[in-house]
Subunit: 383 residues, 2 copies
Amino acid sequence: MPSTTEVLLLGPGPSPVSRDTLAAMSQPLLGHLDPEFLAVMDRVQTDLRRLFCTENPFTLPVSGTGSAGMEICLANLVEPGDRVVIGIHGVFGGRMKNLVERLGGEVVEVTAPFGEPLDADAMIAAVRGGPTRLVAFVHAETSTGVLIDPAPIAAAAREVGALCVLDCVTSLGGTRVDIDGWGVDAAFSGTQKCLSVPPGLSPVTFSDRALERIAARERQPSTWYLDVGLLSGYWGDERVYHHTAPVSMIFALQSGLQQLHEEGDEARFERHRHVAAALYRGLEVLGLGCLVPAAWRTPMLTTVALPSDLQNEAGLRAAIRSEHRIEIGGGLGPLKGRVWRIGLMGHGARESSVTRVLVAIGEVLAGSGRDVDVASALAAATG
Amino acid sequence: MPSTTEVLLLGPGPSPVSRDTLAAMSQPLLGHLDPEFLAVMDRVQTDLRRLFCTENPFTLPVSGTGSAGMEICLANLVEPGDRVVIGIHGVFGGRMKNLVERLGGEVVEVTAPFGEPLDADAMIAAVRGGPTRLVAFVHAETSTGVLIDPAPIAAAAREVGALCVLDCVTSLGGTRVDIDGWGVDAAFSGTQKCLSVPPGLSPVTFSDRALERIAARERQPSTWYLDVGLLSGYWGDERVYHHTAPVSMIFALQSGLQQLHEEGDEARFERHRHVAAALYRGLEVLGLGCLVPAAWRTPMLTTVALPSDLQNEAGLRAAIRSEHRIEIGGGLGPLKGRVWRIGLMGHGARESSVTRVLVAIGEVLAGSGRDVDVASALAAATG
């Protein structure tokens, strides 16, 4: 058997999974064409539509992680030569650029410094600046902790007849995602963030407009596994065998979605905002600020700006893991060594997580000779 | 919570999963870069190398089902214009052809009727008949129940400098797979067949020769999610974050591989042969023959040839599911309506499965007015 050490997962994902969801995943399996399993698929699709705020029939969990969700969106919607505007305000926008280039698209890049949101006006100007076929960007950047408003960019895309693809990996289940209201044409997420389900599935949704674009492609997508047309045959009314669905993972997703439904979407989003605010207050007392100004922060993922004189941040994180059994994340890309990333996502977004992580951070900082007042930090967080 | 009806899974997969593996999967998660999880990854890779009979460093479970394994092999190894010889002796060979065409390869097709093995001489002639870059075929065809010997075809590929790709989805863990001995360059499998782990991962292995071919590509593969170079960074010594590994599924795979190791590979293969032979004997007494002549049968998956006067085979399968709680599979492609597919795979390959499925088949046949002797069938099977 693998490890029995339980670790509190407060990094950028995976997030903690509830006992109910772990139990759901460990049920005996059903066949992927079994009538009882098909009913589970239907319930999962219904719950995902509610959470994405969409009526898109093509709304389902792809059999891969969030990156597979990125790939199904772009591999089906990009054709060679397409002008694709990519907003890059972190590592994950950069990945979309890389993939679009592999697919033969012509990337027009709009960048923002890590820790700042995309400039909507710059995105809109880029969309209007040529025969744009697709616009793609990240809602909540997991590498920086910045949340942006997709509405004006999606509207600009629609005006010029371009499709809009949104990365909702970290946002879905933690803050409102309004696919139909914003006019987004394709979006993808991951189960291991605010849904609090193990990694392995990527909820996606495609508008009918996006499906029409795919149907009109000159060539088939270069992927068979992630071909939207083939997946429609299995998840739609026909139930044509495509690949063997990850049955146990879908049981887990159903359980996670059910818990979300019982809590209520708005109550869950408010819980994420509430515990994030507690974390900000506690960090401040410990002398740690956030990389991102308050107005731009996404509550699910906080990037802690490390003091420039802090030595060996990786060693301190390792101590938090080994001595306090808490995982937090380091920085990615240009933020490596400069920030810590603390995720308060899904089942992990609770006050007890905030107090545990503040104690752990306070103690390792004290151990490295810094003057910190953990008790005051806890009082500020919970007061 | 989803269903609580336990169904004995004797279709073409998923196969039954042991309680230990279900329990392993329901452990609290670890982060995908956690030191304890990295140790689990190492053990999984070691066990997979043993099972594939290979020393290939690049041997790992891909974060997708068996079809994702097919895709990682072909999307990384095929370049536009490549001459690719595909052996098609069932539905799954046809899929490889479809994917190679999407990737811009030039397919040379060698076919065999469903229920017969590929003709090795025809394959070898096709390999030699042009500047072949790749040869791909299926070891154990899940749609027909035919097992072939890959050795002569792989040898012919090596002679002409072509790479050989083998689909081991149904064979791995149920019969010997000898990647290095045969000289196969890339192979893929699935967890939900003879490994008795839920669907969701695809064990793959690439030879160094295959990795050199990828490194020499003119253009990057069209996939980011399944890019071998990027995956090497995470599964290799560097541990560079690529995507969030499906942690719980990898716990399950570790458990399944450990059970396999404890049983012993050869003992497990013999168990599969032994229970398949029992099934053949019992079916014969019920008046049901096998589609595939004895010499070509794969023990893990038996295609039962249905009598031409049998009415409503789908209804009988539904009755086996609802009245006996057993899943068996129907025919795929040209075999639809003509065969049943009975999988005796991994944890499901045991005498009790054989007796339960013979009773179920016997009773539904009797219920449809056929004269069958279930007791004699059981005696023949277990005697």
